[in-house]
């Protein structure tokens, strides 16, 4: 209802940060960006190769989560099948590199393209139906994908999988393989983040957000909107496909078991945990989803360890309960929750500052006669 609309507006990227001069705001932005880039640069210098490998897994998942967020967060279309798009990307890279001698770079482009095409096909029903129903198509796709891989074992390696040559660091870079892969992946990811951010803030993005929040808006936009949605579905799948390729760089091995329904759920969970419809949410979510089960460095997973020590099979119960709890306490995810808290704080300050004047948003104030 209206309350929900209000909060949804709040979680959309806030155009202004409260109470600061434009110059100060720019300064803060610059500092934040420098810090982010610095941390991303520093990671493979500091961490061990195994840990850098896990960070690369985070990046692979973050690609898919970024793509899914474009779909689910901003367009209101739910996909439970992004694991399959990752799989298509992964297998495209694996087959081209392992069996056809392609370079990893060229294969990445092919992976993105293949996932895009499949995404458009799967997204076609989005022309006519509401978001929830797409979940069905994508769920079925996620379940079907490993079976198709198994069936065409001549090409895919079947259940025995396919070993893929390493993505080697060029000699000139003087980097170890794990560092090289990490840096390539992280640069691509940052570029993709910027691209998605621009897309969301474009006319198309605004149309999608409006249609998510308001059915009337959706109806008035009609045909254009449907076309946008299908294309966005394709882009979303494409990002997942790139994530799949990055995943191959890290594991050097594909098999159908890696791309089952569990992966799809993991991507969805990453989006929601981080915060749907926030720019940084998917990355945060991907980080948590990868690191929590490996929680021996930040953040320490003390709780699950206590419960799960004797009953490791209960991890899904803990995980499921945590998801439900998160939806109850912070349905907009961690990043979304923080943004919402900041927004409320700002509003409270604005109300306090302006006395009884109505705060922005909500029903427009009518001047007295």
């Amino acid at each position: 209802m209206s309350a929900a609309t209000a909060t949804a507006t709040a979680t959309a990227p806030a155009p202004t940060a409260g109470g600061l001069s434009p110059a100060a705001r720019t300064a803060i932005k610059v500092v934040v960006w420098v810090a982010v880039v610095g941390v991303l640069y520093w990671v493979p210098q500091y961490f061990t190769p195994v840990q850098v490998g896990l960070f690369t897994k985070v990046i692979a998942l973050a690609f898919a989560a970024l793509g899914l967020n474009l779909l689910t967060g901003y367009s209101g279309l739910i996909s439970v099948g992004h694991g399959a798009f990752m799989g298509v990307g992964a297998y495209t890279t694996a087959i081209l590199v392992a069996d056809h001698g392609w370079s990893h770079g060229a294969a990445l482009v092919a992976s993105a393209a293949a996932a895009f095409v499949l995404g458009v096909l799967i997204g076609l029903p989005a022309l006519r139906i509401k978001g929830l129903y797409l979940a069905l198509v994508t769920l079925a796709l996620a379940t079907l994908f490993p079976e198709v891989v198994k069936r065409y074992g001549d090409v895919t390696g079947g259940t025995q999988g396919l070993r893929v040559p390493k993505f080697k660091a060029p000699e000139a870079t003087d980097l170890a393989n794990d560092q090289w892969i990490y840096y390539v992946a992280v640069v691509l990811l940052v570029l993709s983040f910027v691209a998605v951010r621009n897309l969301v803030h474009s006319r198309v993005g605004r149309a999608l957000i409006a249609s998510r929040d308001n059915e009337t808006a959706a109806e008035t936009m009609g045909v254009h909107l449907s076309a946008y949605r299908v294309v966005v579905f394709g882009i979303s799948a494409m990002l997942a496909g790139m994530g799949g390729a990055v995943n191959v760089w890290q594991t050097n091995f594909v098999d159908p078991g890696q791309f089952g329904i569990v992966l799809s759920i993991t991507v969805l969970v990453a989006v929601v945990v981080g915060g749907a419809a926030t720019i940084l949410g998917p990355a945060v979510g991907a980080y948590l989803v990868v690191w929590l089960p490996n929680g021996d460095i930040l953040p320490p997973a003390v709780m699950p360890d206590l419960i799960l020590k004797d009953n490791p099979e209960l991890i899904d119960l803990v995980f499921g309960a945590a998801l439900i709890a998160l939806m109850m306490l912070a349905p907009y995810g961690l990043v979304g929750g923080i943004k919402l808290a900041l927004y409320r704080l700002k509003q409270r300050r604005a109300v306090a500052a302006a006395g009884k004047a109505p705060p922005g948003g909500g029903e427009p104030a009518v001047s007295t006669a």
């Binding site: 006519r128 139906i129 129903y133 198509v137 998510r212 995980f319 998801l323 439900i324 349905p331």
Partner: protein, 296 residues
């Protein structure tokens, strides 16, 4: 001919199972407009509850099933009240948080069942006994015939409930327009609880009809997608549609698996997937449903 008929009957048997689960999917959809991704795992869990009465307390099979339905009704109602509603109230018209909750339920039940009842599969009895009848040289087993009869009874009961009782009318009212229903005095929350409860209770029938393959936590992982395909074909809000959809999905997938090598038994899921895709693309309201799916 008799071979064709034989596989047609086998398809009916599979389809009957899909239909029982599809009915549970449809009940929640009717009551709340929601797709419950944990539907299969809830049915699995409920079947373990039936197993508890049957094996643990040594009760006869059918009373165990009925008790299982009662317990599952309460379980479904409580899930709605305690886990779904707090989230859906906050989420407004955004379905994502509730979808995530159902995924959480999926994972939770999957882990809980083997923890409570042990990791080994249980030998669950055939609900309608073993044996079969010959028809034109093909055999159809009691389990299939019994499940079909049970489905007919389910559809009749649901028809009477929704069309002939005050609660049913109120549930339909809430499903169509919960705000207006509240404004004429319908306690909307109670109706949602009843919807989840009913769905969980009918899910028991899906579980016990399937469980003669051996009861473990994977019981409904296979049927769930087919059940969704059945519900899609039937139109999401019609129990009769779910049954017809389930039977069509069952028969079509089995016949294709047997007669078309390109599909085969390992890619049975392919026709189900294509069915969902095509139905949503061409006729989103399915065979029996109302057009509400199409609101973009």
């Amino acid at each position: 001919m008799s071979e064709f008929l034989q596989f047609f009957f086998l398809g009916l048997g599979r389809g009957a199972i899909y239909a029982t689960l599809a009915i549970a999917v449809v009940i929640i959809f009717r009551a709340t407009g929601l797709l419950n991704f944990a539907q299969g795992q809830m049915a699995m869990f409920s079947t373990f509850i039936v197993w508890g009465f049957y094996d643990g307390f040594g009760l006869p099979l059918w009373p165990s099933v009925l008790l299982g339905m009662v317990v599952s009704f309460l379980m479904g109602a409580l899930i709605e009240r305690l886990l779904i509603r707090p989230v859906s109230d906050k989420a407004g018209h955004n379905p994502l948080p509730v979808v995530i909750v159902t995924i959480g339920l999926f994972l939770g039940f999957q882990a809980l069942a083997p923890w409570l009842w042990g990791e080994t599969a249980k030998p669950f009895p055939q609900l309608f006994g073993s044996g079969s009848v010959e028809i034109f040289g093909a055999s159809i087993d009691y389990q299939t015939l019994g499940t079909l009869a049970m489905l007919a009874a389910e559809v009749l009961v649901l028809y009477l409930l929704f069309q002939r009782t005050k609660v049913g009318l109120a549930m339909r009212g809430v499903a169509s327009n919960s705000e207006s229903a509240a404004l004429v005095g319908v306690p909307v929350g109670n109706m949602l609880m009843i919807g989840w409860g009913l769905s969980a209770a009918f899910g028991v029938l899906a579980g016990v009809a399937t469980a003669d393959v051996g009861l473990d936590s994977t019981l409904m992982l296979g049927p769930l997608i087919y059940a969704f395909a059945a519900a899609t074909l039937g139109g999401f809000d019609s129990p009769l549609g779910a049954v017809v959809g389930g039977l069509i999905v069952g028969v079509v997938t089995e016949l294709l698996a047997h007669y078309v090598d390109a599909i085969g038994n390992d890619l049975k899921l392919l026709p189900a997937f294509l069915l969902i895709l095509v139905v949503l693309l061409v006729r989103p309201q399915g065979l029996f449903g109302k057009a509400q799916v199409t609101r973009v």
